[in-house]
Amino acid sequence: MRNIKTRLLVALFAAAALGWAAHTAAPAGANAQRPSAGFDTYAITNARVVTVSGPTIERGTVVVRDGLIAAVGAGVAAPPDARAIDGTGLTVYPGLIDASTTLGIPRPTPTPGATPGGGGGGGFAGLFGQSQPSAVSPNSPQLPGLQPELLAADIIRPGGNEVEAARNAGITAAQTAPRGNVFLGQSAVINLAGDTPQGIIVRSPVALYVGLAPIGGGQYPGSLMGVFSAVRQMLLDAQRYREAQEIYERNPRGLRRPDQDKSLAALLPVLARQMPIVMQADRAREVERALDLAREFNVRLVINGGTESWQHAARLKAQDVPVLLSLNFPRRTAAASPDADPDPIRVLRERAEAPKTAGRLAAAGVRFAFQSGGMTTMSDFLSNASRAVEQGLSKDDAVRAMTIRAAEILGVQNQLGSIEVGKIANLTVTRGDLFDRTRRITHVFIDGRPVDLRPAATATGATSASGTWSLSVNLGGTQSESPQFQITLVLQQQGDRLTGSIQGPLGTSQGSGTLAGSDLSFTVPITLPGPGSQTTDAIFNGAITGNEMRGTVQVVGRGPGTFTGSRAGSPTPAPATPPGAQPSTPPGTRQPPPGGQPGQGEPQPRRTPTPATTPPAEQD
């Protein structure tokens, strides 16, 4: 399989395949941070082992060596050179897999030049709520957002708070796909620990993600209707591209040479049914549309989201379409305002019904795997899987949906998804049953190495943005005057919503934004000083690390700016602290992180697991 694909997309795919080969074969020097051999062998003894591939071993040993599972069984003895972990009372599962994420994919930041021909228009489109594609393929004849040749493997970054939050929830591997509009690009399966993009990739490319978000900014397609037409036209163009290339290769004489088109070429494995497309479809009608499109072009389809997919279970089974089922179940997030209309009964039904989908798909014989669906609190992954179990899914099927079924759908069933000798040593170890609400994740092994699990405060991945921040803002631009501004930003966070205000030389105004993981996006009107001052929106995109934030700021009509900031005092969701209540910070200086807060205030932009010198202790 891999070879066929590689031939079809030689240059792009070969690089990714090499990355994987380098990872498994580990040639000397490929990874300077590889730990010494002495720490590469572990044995978990006397544990309950849920192998998934075979019967559960009530009291057995799992031996991990050189990143692979070396032995598993009831009568297996721990090798003398192994670090032994007493697994009494523990259960070892195959490492959990999140079947669809954007882990490691950088968020789009508005920069001129990222949108060819857009000029200042790129930032302006951002004002109108259009997301910009995060990456652009050079020399593609297609617009950004319509470039299926983009590879997650080419833009992925290891580490980061979101990856860590996933690990803390017991997730060891994930499918990750580029963000974007229509043709998002090709996904990869990654392990959630490792220092290099090359080192974390398990398989690439895996599937072509097809989104249904209009491109916007005045570019076609600008509507859902247009998106379908654009997808249909590009698939037709790809069919003709294949035919034209074949005819030309057969006999070029007397034929005008067909243009090369890397975007259309990237669709050929899809048309040849070698690579599936993943389409976001939650509602029944969205599933129906995706099934229709797949049938129209005879392509392999994977449904992503799938909340109401059970309503088309018969068609899913007939067309052999698996579902990557979101565990981000809808639920009421706030008490109703007394002025608000009651929720429509449709919404009430959807919330109550969502956890039943998994059981219904299982009963209908539809293949499915669980995915996190963009949830901001990763501990919901297992607790919502438990809800699915309460609503009719067998525990066995639930475990499979997070392990071997995911591996099968993603084409990594020979590497991940079960505890079998020779597979990649990804393990999730719990005290208590995986679906028991009192269970704890005690150990996570990725590529045969234990991962540091963070205390619960950060294990939720809930970076707090609340607080008073001192920001140093550089608006860029070409003005000769110093474009540095010192402003105060007061943020209040509720869920992933941010509200707040700014004060300082850019005026006083209210704004709002979102926080996803540690990534912040905040829009607030600013008043540019100087003659002809005008008020215009500024979009702050950045990341929060502890009590530091940094990122870019986009203002209409100006080049990209940057900002850095630090938080005054501890992050509390309380209302804005009066300026006099805290010791004031001289503009432009960063406050030292306050002590006594584990997991906060570390200035490193990302944390990578350090090789454990001793087996990690259980954390409560």
């Binding site: 109108f128 209707m225 036209q233 034209a244 005819i247 009608r285 639920r331 997030t333 706030a334 949830m375």
Partner: protein
């Protein structure tokens, strides 16, 4: 005495059938054939051949099987006593934007014939149920009026509760939206900062259409040449299939109906001239508020006209309208329909038709034709629906009074002989829904969280209510997005 007994039996049957109707509306897909139905003793407004008093109507296999007096109900048939009630054909709305997800417009280009409203159908749109409750059974779902040549239309039967695929009207000819005047030239929709789109004048609109059909002619020529040459030469690369031009070739070949949004007399004449030049026909002029000025020309071209009853003055090009428009065009031989272009107005098209008796003196049957047989012809489905004739689809509504009366309301709506709306069933269901709501509100997912929690997915962007008049406010949202 005998009549009394019959009445009692009828009442019992109505009650039991109401329960059956409930079960029916709640199941989806894969239905068995609907039962045979006998509607007894109704005033039947056939629309095609007058009014039948005290008549019966038998529905079998989803078709109108018999119309007459003293019809006998076969065993197992459900019988509806329609004494004092009126039966009329299902209303057909020739201009609707119901059940569409996302924008009704693809505004980025001046020719968007590659887009299809069929791709974004939302069978759960509650407006559909309200339309059934207004006696409407079929819709022409049109692309918006953002572009000189817009997207492909979809003709549907309102089978509320079924998957979108079940809505498609079998065998209905394909259609497409054109638009002239202020909307395609973006007179009222240019926002500062956004790039203006060609064309900006009525001259430009004409040029866009002319250019598109010139390209379509060339496209057809290229394919014809390829098909001829490829028989002898296997080493030819086929031309590109162009989803923008293919529907235009279908128009040139007379296979696709053009539904052209327009207002002013001059632009109507312009489009007729362009159509004549390229040798195709306009099936309907939509809105066509100045149609009364050029009714003869419209009739000579063979086009229909689909207009509003009395809605005008909402922009410059809608100032010269008169409520006599439908009547004047009817008298000049144009097949006229009254449309809604609105999920709200679609619920009471019968009243809009009634206004045409008041303004212009149409007969009652002529007025009813404006919302039944005439739009059926405009959509090319008049062989199947639009009147009460034996053999036609049983798309019907039972009204409590003459449907041109303001006191009339719909009791029961049939589509293909199946009940998709029934007032008594609806009233009975309301209590059930309240009970269901109380149960659902106790579910964990519907209780406010104590603290934190993952926010739900952001729902897909949904058009707000009352933004569906593509004449009035379309494009504003699109431009702002």
């Amino acid at each position: 005495m005998k009549r009394l007994t019959t009445l009692a039996i009828c009442i019992a049957l109505v009650n039991s059938w109401a329960g059956a109707g409930l079960a029916q509306t709640r199941t989806t897909g894969g239905q068995a054939a609907p039962p045979v139905t006998l509607i007894r003793n109704a005033t039947i407004l056939t629309v095609s051949h007058g009014t039948l008093q005290n008549s019966d109507l038998l529905i079998r296999n989803g078709k109108i099987a018999q119309v007459g007096q003293n019809l006998r109900a076969p065993d197992g048939a459900r019988t509806i006593d329609a004494t004092g009630k009126f039966v009329m054909p299902g209303i057909i709305d020739a201009h609707s934007h119901s059940m569409m997800d996302g924008s009704v417009n693809e505004c980025t280009r001046s020719v968007t014939s590659m887009t299809r409203t069929q791709d974004i159908l939302n069978p759960n749109d509650a407006d559909l149920y309200r339309e059934l409750a207004g006696g409407v059974t079929s819709l022409l779902l049109l692309h918006g009026s953002c572009n000189s040549i817009g997207g492909q239309s979809t003709t549907v039967k309102i089978k509320y509760g079924r998957p979108a695929a079940d809505f498609l009207f079998p065998g209905a000819p394909p259609g497409i939206k054109f638009a002239l005047g202020e909307n395609p030239k973006r007179s009222n929709f240019n926002l500062p900062g956004l790039q203006a789109r060609y064309p900006a004048t009525r001259m430009g609109v004409e040029e866009v259409i002319r250019d598109a059909f010139t390209r379509a002619r060339d496209y057809k020529l290229r394919w014809d040449e390829y098909r001829a040459d490829s028989r002898s030469n296997k080493n030819l690369i086929p031309p590109r299939r162009d989803l923008e031009l293919e529907p235009l070739v279908e128009i040139l070949e007379g296979k696709r109906y053009v539904h052209a949004h327009c207002y002013r007399a001059d632009e109507i004449l312009m489009l007729i001239a362009v159509a004549d030049e390229f040798g195709f026909k306009i099936r309907t002029f939509q809105h066509v508020l100045e149609g009364y000025k050029v009714a003869g020309e419209i009739a000579r071209h063979g086009a229909g006209a689909s207009t509003f009853a009395d809605f005008w003055g909402y922009k410059m090009e809608a100032y010269d309208a008169i409520p006599y428009n439908a009547a004047v065009m009817t008298r000049r031989g144009v097949r006229v329909s009254i449309n809604s272009d609105s999920d709200e107005r679609a619920r009471r098209l019968n009243i809009d038709a009634a206004k045409m008796v008041r303004y212009g003196g149409l007969s009652e049957e002529e007025a009813l034709k404006l919302i039944t047989l005439n739009p059926a012809w405009q959509l090319g489905i008049d062989e199947r629906v639009g009147s009460i004739d034996v053999g036609k689809d049983a798309d019907l509504a039972v009204w409590t009074a003459h449907p041109l009366s303001v006191y009339a309301r719909v009791e029961t709506t049939f589509v293909d002989g199946e009940i998709f709306f029934d007032r008594q069933t609806d009233l009975a269901r309301r209590q059930q829904l309240e009970a269901e709501r109380r149960t659902l509100e106790q579910a964990e997912a519907n209780r406010p969280p104590a603290q934190g929690g993952t926010p739900p997915r952001t729902p897909p962007q949904i058009r707000r209510a009352n933004t569906d008049h593509d004449d009035v406010i379309d494009g504003e949202e699109d431009n702002q997005r």
